[in-house]
Symmetry: D2
Subunit: 333 residues, 4 copies
């Protein structure tokens, strides 16, 4: 079975998905839509697919599934439209910045018996997936504590920050999902500390650039998340999980793994410059999972509910910072 | 100048210090005291020093300094006695489990113009000291976030737990000191999560075995501490500090650093079995610093105030767990 | 410009090149030929190209270049035929097992002004290429000594050994090319030691499975090569180059880079299982270089002469083993 | 039992052994001799032992063993004198630069039933010893190939080179011993390449500064040695052994193991500055082995024969360079 795709949104992340879809033997990219015709045309030219409007794609009989890479504030609407149009939906995170809107949207998905997968790509990174697999294989016994370090190479422009929903909803949300993925139990309380240490402009917009979070589950499992919007040495992405029998960890990946030794010491080149180069394999594996799920009529993961759960943790973290206390997730969701 | 030492307490940590003192070219171990005569005699035999009572040492004119390695509940009394006796005092952490008693004791130190150094040995580990040095050298710019991972190889017996003052005062206290050492700014608030995941007996004694802590300074610098009372792979001791220009870290030390590769992969032996083997060099450097300070008439560091500050963080952490909120250190101290 | 390719030979390595060609935006795979029609058809189906005979391809006007992945004893003939047919030729190593035949073939390439690139894929591995780049950037000063470690995961079957030309011509030849690539000066003498330690069947065929080689250039630069036909921990591929100002090295690549720590130590998974997974990126970069050279009318490297030089080193190594002496390359070539 | 030592030679390596002896609970340093009285006095002052002449030490009844750290050309004479004087002898390598003289000397050792241990310190490095132990434990199956990398931080002055016996007898000799230690089978043939790449002054003295050696045993096991007199990044000391079941290796040790990451990459400090800091633990373990052997009336290892065997390999290597061929060790010994 070949899944016939349309791509909605031909921007930076849209290109990543176009490549993932066209490189997959069980998929075909049939059409692409974008508010900027030139962007859509560029993808159409590169991969030999058609440019169509979103309306046309909604009605296209030769489309089985859509990949939503449009701006965040259009996600929920498009999910609803394409679930109603009986297309399987892969949507970039987040579903929406408002938890209420997410709930509404997921109600439509349920009502239409739609298929929705949310793009938490890191679960599909081969190294992070191998960490999860090692846990499943019993390599570290019972999970107790997770440590997630995630730092961007450089702070985004003010314009991006404004539309981002803030660091917890935009950046930490990936780590919240990762914590849920690794802990194997839902976080019950959230404690967070947030500062502006990198760029005062971020602070002026009411956002933070440096945050630390502790998540605690009912049985007492803990995850610690450390985030910064800037790391001079590249895109820093590490996880480790401590359990009753041991520790499993995934170190940073490097674009070039050489080392030069000289009078000043031993030097390895910096890390990847961002997620597009760091997570190339993850994006391919993510789409492959979506396709395989469609082929086998199984629900793809992470689901809409996973998207909502991560967003609820983001809101709890914000509330924790504002009120200086441990916030129960139950207060939010 | 040769500093003439008496050792008070000939137990496990007393032996470590006896070795550090006798191995130092500027020091001489003159006498040792212990409630168990056999323990004192063993050290006297090994290093050719005298066995004396604490009273005798207090009056000994051939003693310049004492190293206090007796049980915790005797520390404050002995510090006061020996400051009054005009001996320089090196005391194992903690000064006391009660912050009020510590304050009282430090008042006596001040009043007698005594010299007191508190045994936070990790500051003197060559690798951790090099991290601090790198920060001082400007290698990472302005400090922003520290991550401290500290796991013991195995949980102590219930008997030890009872007298320990609990995990925050007994174990995390080292990490609180390390956080202060690394952040270069006093923590203002403490958030902590604490669980019993390793040994239910610890929970029955009202203590915890797995804790995560976030410390935040006034300017927003953050330190994250992750502790467990048990790590199957050995004594896990790591630090890293993220700053405006980069990251500096110190990995675990290993007793034997070979690697064996075979069909199942690449395997390196476990870490050190505990602090005595892991921090051998740190103990020697710590005593050397104390001796050098005496020789140059400078105040040795960490001071009694450093001991008190770490204890205050421990109390704040306990309160944070009890009340589910961010606790200001000012509430405690 | 799009380079239109035909693939000659649809076996294991043919598939690797089919993928590299079809994944390249500046290339198109037009046709495939194989003595086994089913093998050719499989590639044609997977990539949407035509099945043709070698004769047909020779005459095809819609073919600019061929990739020769047929059995070794057909390489030289095919190179000659396709140079005469004015197609650019990319040929898997070796050109031939006989140095005399190689010379003859290269004369034809020259006479026809043909374009020939030989498939020493390792030069194009991003990590090894970065080692070369670091040297070119002056990171280690003047090159002095290179160390090349190369071990296959498991010995090939007797049948393969028989047709292989022996370990020096089949396996070490890659390391001979790498040594030339790294030393930046032609080896003048070869000393080699060769044993049968892995599989006696290999010895019965007159071949070896474990060899060490020293190459020395005129100015005294040295390269040491260590080969084994079997490594239980995977495909072991490492290089390091020592120079007047420092050392540059490239460690093994790993399919999954996690680490599990437990009571028995710290374990990382084994290496790649063989060249197809280890050198995926190298194969893509190799074809990209060939295509870019055709587009810019430059000679692609490694050339036919590079192929001949590596073969001459293999013959010198064989002679060194047989005669127990340092063999001058000039005696061979 | 306490072994009473005299130290012959109070130079650089003499100080290392003085520290090793005095730090050993089962040994006592009774006396020290040196042609320069001030050098002897310095050690006497530091460790509280007597200064005596070599003649006096020879007759001293309170001396059980001597550590010979005098210039190389006195070693053989002193070994003979002290074996005759019934003192156990620990002698720094080499016994002598002339194989004939070594044979003569060992005959005296035998005739007097003397105890002689030769100072190949690297066997006692905890990491290299752990490699040997892993082999003994069967971790890599049957030994097949060893790789030994050994580079000094900087070339010694011409004056040292003149008296050194040349790089093979002075520097590579440690690696020859290590190869014998690791291979578990005597090398049968030696092939060597030697160049002057570091310092032309070394070449003018008829010596080399960059050498590569292949040793082959009767059953075909191979060891490869790579030496340089200069490494800008510190004292480079690595071994690895490949066997039928896997690989065991010991990486370089570092004085400080921190890492700093910044815009230019990840940097670790250089290696140790030389053998005194790198092999501190090895020197202590070496003397401990000597003492334990005396206490248990066993022959200490490495023996005089081990010293001779390594020297024979050095001579074979020199001959291999001179004659451009594989030299049988049997031709030498």
């Amino acid at each position: 079975m070949t899944v016939r795709f349309a791509l909605l949104g031909a921007g930076r992340i849209g290109k990543v998905h176009a490549k993932a879809v066209t490189g997959n033997a069980d998929a075909r990219l049939v059409a692409v839509a974008d508010a900027f015709p030139a962007a859509a045309q560029a993808i159409a030219d590169a991969y030999g697919c058609a440019v169509r409007t979103i309306d046309e794609i909604e009605k296209s009989k030769d489309i089985d599934a859509v990949v939503i890479c449009t701006p965040t504030d259009t996600h929920a609407d498009l999910i609803e439209r394409f679930c109603r149009a009986k297309k399987a939906v892969f949507c970039e995170k987040p579903i929406d910045l408002s938890l209420a809107r997410v709930k509404q949207c997921l109600a439509v998905v349920k009502e239409t018996k739609g298929t929705l997968m949310v793009g938490f790509n890191r679960r599909f990174d081969p190294h992070f997936a191998a960490v999860r697999q090692a846990i499943d294989d019993g390599a570290i016994g019972k999970v107790e504590m997770a440590t997630i370090t995630s730092r961007d190479p450089g702070a985004p422009p003010a314009d991006y920050i404004k539309r981002s929903g803030g660091i917890f909803r935009d950046m930490t949300i990936h780590d919240f999902d990762m914590a849920r993925f690794l802990l194997g139990e839902e976080p019950e309380t959230v404690m967070a500390s947030a500062s502006v240490l990198v760029d005062k402009a971020i602070g002026r917009l009411g956002d933070f650039d440096s945050v630390s979070v502790i998540l605690t589950t009912k049985s007492g499992r803990q995850a610690v998340i450390s985030n910064s919007r800037r790391a001079t040495y590249g895109y820093d992405q590490r996880i480790e999980v401590h359990g009753s029998e041991g520790l499993v960890s995934a170190e940073n990946q490097r674009p070039v793994s050489i080392e030069v030794a000289g009078a000043k010491g031993y030097t390895r080149p910096p890390l990847h410059d961002f997620f597009m180069t760091r997570y190339t394999d993850a994006y391919a594996a993510e789409i492959a999972h979506f396709i395989a799920a469609l082929a086998s009529k199984k629900k793809p993961k992470p689901s809409g509910d996973d998207g909502m759960a991560a967003l609820a943790l983001a809101e709890a973290a914000l509330k924790s910072v504002a009120e200086g206390r441990a916030v129960k997730v139950a207060e939010i969701a």
